[in-house]
Symmetry: C2
Subunit: 243 residues, 2 copies
Amino acid sequence: MSTTRGARERARAEVTAAIKDEARRQLAAEGAAKLSLRAVARELGMVSSALYRYFPSRDDLLTALIVDAYDAVGAAAETALARQPAHAPQPARWTAVCRAVRTWALAHPHEYALIYGSPVPGYTAPMATVGPASRVGRALVSVARDAHRGNGLAVPPLPAALSDEARRITEDVAPDLPPPVVAALVAAWSQLFGLVSFELFGQFNRVVEEREAFFDHAATTLAHAVGLIDGRPAGPAPGGDST
Amino acid sequence: MSTTRGARERARAEVTAAIKDEARRQLAAEGAAKLSLRAVARELGMVSSALYRYFPSRDDLLTALIVDAYDAVGAAAETALARQPAHAPQPARWTAVCRAVRTWALAHPHEYALIYGSPVPGYTAPMATVGPASRVGRALVSVARDAHRGNGLAVPPLPAALSDEARRITEDVAPDLPPPVVAALVAAWSQLFGLVSFELFGQFNRVVEEREAFFDHAATTLAHAVGLIDGRPAGPAPGGDST
DNA sequence: CCAAGGCAAGAGCAGTGCTCTCGTTATTGG
DNA sequence: CCAATAACGAGAGCACTGCTCTTGCCTTGG
């Protein structure tokens, strides 16, 4: 069934994948700014104009790479979380996600820069990116959700100016969590990428040397900021004090 | 001395400034990727090759803009801090610096992206940028230093894996502060830019709407994370607990 | 006053994104 | 089964880019 009309479509899918692969290669090698349609075509043995049959413009090719990158870092976060034992302490589950993001970023710096660095030229993210872009955030939310089901989460209350906004965000992303926790989650989410970006973009040069230890500590602090506490992950008694 | 031989040098300085101004205009209008030497020269009524008498390459022009941008955001942070009344509560002084950074970033998004977004092509920051790049960090440190002189700063102890590193960083940036505070400062420094970058680069689209209120709250939380506490700024009694 | 050097101008090279046209080739409807 | 149709690759070409080199002008220092 797919072979009948597939002969052509399969070839098209293969060429499309080959273009993306070569583009990703150039992206990893030289960065997004030096990604050249002509060079991709040249490397693939075709002429540049032929490439426009597959991607209407350079920006569309970049968008495809962006979506893939969001998916890749999201998948890395999710599998890191899935690999955590079910009874692992909540801060450990949290930092596992954080470390997965950092590890992926260090392994794919240019792809990371593509999605979490400056948006390219006059580029505004198409709708196709919003789903994949939220995977890391959802992984972080799910850690908090599990902890909330377990022994509860305690974060300071919100200022009045934020209560409506926090309620609104809560309904969108995690209706089963208390709004103060969701607000802390969103902040921690962005701050996690602040840590990774500063390391990757060189702001830590000549400042932080032991990057991994520093990151682990900061990620653990973020875990505490969203209310995750050390101790039993699913203890039904939330009155435990670990000071 | 600069006035004597200034006739020619002054003209050179003026042209250099005009080039940078026009380049900054194009940067603000279209972003770093579309900044074109030829367009700058065209707008200034000169031919592109003449511009190379002033900047040896496009990257050098960009570097000049980067240094200026670091200086601009650093100056914004410093004046915001200087405008704070001497007896303002420490968290207020902290958030004043944070808000100044955010305000500057919102007013100069492309310049912000230039320094805190993805580093351009294969670009590695020249030494000339390290001084200006640390001005915001130094402003944050000085808030902590004042608070430390006042009523002390209380942050959780560091894990053993970080104690040496934290001591080293402390000697470099703030020998008069306790290492755990310095570690928290560096983390908060990067996390502050995580917040700003996520807002500016669109990650908060369809998530956070009340950006200013959210940012203020997150910045205040960061202030607490580095040990700044509400209350009198210079009270000699550090025994206050605000849990 | 005159040589020397900084300077603008222009041509030119190699590269880019993108468009258009032109045969060819594969798919599909009659 | 064959013809109409759509997809496709190739090539030329346009407007643009960063950058280099050469050629003269013109201010400046001796």
